[in-house]
Structures are given as structure tokens and as C-alpha cells.
Assembly symmetry: C2
Homo-oligomer: 228 residues x 2
């Protein structure tokens, strides 16, 4: 029989995956709202943000209580510490979907996305939803290999982000400054959304292996348990 | 005589304050580089980013080792958990100063800041440096009252951010789309920098009092130790 503590740990792991499903669906709705200038859907996304915040806060409270009362070690401790960062990343991803939704409302009844940026932003939305879905699988399966592969999806997003900037700043941009400002911020929101997914991948590598997951920053393979 | 463990805890607290001094000085340099289009200074800021990242990673490794080996409770546990978030916020603040510095290089030898946005961005730089200085004092003194007051400085930044957008999108904006895009992103970097300072304030309230610091999100006064 699993102990009460082990059940709590399992639930914490499952809750991270569940939070990610929520973020994925927020991102799907926000991107759909953006493409179709659907203010009703945008408002729904904004209304969900509080749930996302409160799930993250609840997660942290539960983990803190378990840390204080049970003093977990090894992989359980890593789940709580890595999970706190993951919960914070998921909360921030939710906030970024809300920013996308808010842009829809800001220009209503006008479309916030001018025709020239429509294709690239639609692609960014698709990549973001796919990345959130993959992040959910990484969290549900706690698969460090899959986690590290989130970087590739992020490269795709970075390429779209560069293409978006080239489009806005090219001589052929026929829209005004306000449209450029809106599209600049939207591009930034999508890009940051994926950055947080990559960070979650690093945290999953850490909580599964005890190794830092951010290889490109020169710390891969360095055990995090080593005191200085 | 203080125990070895207590000395480690003291050092962790002092290291957070020291990291913040580093971020404050990066922000001062980045803002000065931005105003004077000083590429040499901008490059210095960018070169410092690695130090900032590695200090945050080192902090987390030390805290994790203490958590694993000593199973701290009460205020020591809160320092490690709250401190992990604070270290992450400081690292992100450092990254945002680097983004400001990168903008200087991107348009060299042209000035990235057009004359019309010069005054507001100079003010944003001043507020950001002041906020970083105040965050340092909050961390050094671990003063929850002062921590909560960081919100006020953030309101000042938000007002400047709104003024910047009005300036860019007004009919009197005589610069091009590219300049507007640059200034939009710079404004966003400054605004996010202050958001992270506010988040640090919330974490200091938590680590000093055990209460959630983000009162405006409806969780003030709720003890974080309560298991669900």
C-alpha cells in the first residue's frame, strides 16, 4: 500500500500536468480569439487566469507543507523544488495567454492583427499550442529525453519571431505604427511562452535525473546536490 | 557560537542581497549605455550576464544541498524556498538589462532611442535603478514593510509605460515603424524588470512572515504552511 506521503507526492506530480493542460487550452483559445477577433472567447481566457494563478499558489502551498512536515529527500525533494519553478513557469505561461487575449479586446471592433502579420502569428499560435501539449506529455511522463527536445520547438518559435520582425520592419509594411506595436508585443508574448516551456523541460530533467537541464548554459551534468 | 548551518543560512541571505547589487549596477550601466548609445558599456553589461546567471544557479545549488542535508524548518526553510524564487527573479532582471544593452548594439551607429522617447526612457531607467536599489535594501534588511512598498515604485513605472505607448502611437510620432518597435520592446523590458522587483518584495514578505505577500491577488494573510 502506498503511504499517505507517497500519495501526496503522486498528486503533486499529477497536478503539474493538469495545470499544463489548462494552460494549453488557454493558449488554444487565446490564439483562436486573436485570429478571429473573437472578444467573447478572449474574455473567457482572461476569466480563466485566476484559476491558473490559484492552482499554482495551491501547488506551492502543498509542496511547502510537505517539505516542512516530511523533510523529503532525493527524487521527492527534487519534485518539490523543481515543481515550484514549474508551477511558476505555468502561471507565467497562463499570464502570457491572457496578454494575447487582452490585445483582442484592446482594438475591438478592429482586428488587432493586420493581414500582413496574420499568417506568421497564426503559425506562432499553432507552435505555442503544440509546445504546451508536448510540455504536458513531458510532465505527465516525466521523460527527460522528451523534455530536452522542447528546445527544438522553441527554435521553430524563434525563427517565426525573427520572420515577424522582418515583416514588420520591412519597407513593405503598409500598416501604421500602432499595428506594428501590437504585433511586436504579441510576438514577444508567444516567444516568452515557449521560453517558459523550455525552462520546464530543464526542470523536468533536473527532477528526474538530479542534473541541471540547461545544457546550453554550461552546467549540464553538474549534480545540483553538491554543496559549495 | 553560530553553528555551521546557521552560518550557511546567513550567507545565503547575504548572497541574495549581493546578487541584487550586481543587477542594480547592470541596470545603471545598461540605461546609461542606452541614453548615450555607448556600445562599449553595453558590451560590458552583456558580458556580466553570465556572472549573474551563475550566481543564481550557485545559490540554488547551495540551498538545495542544505535542504537535502539539513532539512531546515520554519524561517530557514522559508528562506530557501522564497530565496529560490528570488534568485530566479534576480536572474531574469539581469537578463532584461542585457536585452536593453543588446538594443544599443542592434542599431549602432544609429541611436536606438529617438529623441521623442528619450525623456520617458531616461525616466524609466532612473526608476528601474531606484527600484533595484530599494530591492537591495529590502533583501539586506529583510524588511516586509519596505518590501510591500515596492508596489508603489512599480506604479510609477506603469505610468511611464503608459505614457511611452501614448507617445509612440500618437499622431505626432515622427519616427518610423522600426523605431516604434525598438521603443516598444525597451518599454516592456523596463516594465518587466520592475514586476520582478515587486515579486521579490512578495517573497520577502513570505520569508519574513510566512504570509503570502501578493495581497492584491487575494491571498494575503493566508499562511503558506497549511496543507490541503
Amino acid at each position: 500500500m502506498r503511504s499517505r506521503f507517497a500519495e501526496n507526492v503522486d498528486r503533486l506530480a499529477a497536478d503539474l500536468a493538469a495545470m499544463c493542460t489548462g494552460v494549453e487550452s488557454m493558449m488554444a483559445d487565446a490564439s483562436r480569439a486573436l485570429m478571429s477577433a473573437d472578444t467573447h472567447l478572449a474574455e473567457q481566457v482572461i476569466a480563466t487566469q485566476e484559476e491558473c494563478d490559484s492552482a499554482a499558489r495551491q501547488w506551492e502551498q502543498t509542496a511547502f507543507a510537505l517539505l516542512a512536515l516530511q523533510a523529503p529527500v532525493a527524487s521527492d525533494l527534487r519534485l518539490m523544488i523543481g515543481g515550484m519553478h514549474i508551477a511558476a513557469d505555468l502561471e507565467r505561461m497562463g499570464a502570457l495567454t491572457t496578454h494575447v487575449a487582452e490585445a483582442v479586446l484592446r482594438r475591438h471592433p478592429a482586428h488587432v492583427v493586420p493581414s500582413e502579420a496574420h499568417g506568421i502569428l497564426a503559425d506562432m499560435g499553432r507552435v505555442a499550442v503544440a509546445v504546451a501539449g508536448e510540455t504536458h506529455r513531458v510532465l505527465a511522463q516525466r521523460d527527460p529525453v522528451r523534455a530536452a527536445a522542447l528546445e527544438r520547438a522553441d527554435s521553430e518559435m524563434d525563427a517565426l519571431h525573427r520572420a515577424l520582425f522582418e515583416r514588420i520592419t520591412s519597407d513593405r509594411w503598409e500598416h501604421g505604427v500602432m499595428e506594428a506595436v501590437d504585433v511586436t508585443l504579441l510576438g514577444r508574448f508567444y516567444e516568452r511562452f515557449c521560453d517558459h516551456a523550455v525552462a520546464i523541460g530543464h526542470h523536468v530533467v533536473f527532477l528526474e535525473t538530479g542534473l541541471a537541464g540547461d545544457a546550453e548554459e554550461g552546467s549540464a551534468g553538474e549534480p545540483l546536490q553538491r554543496p559549495r
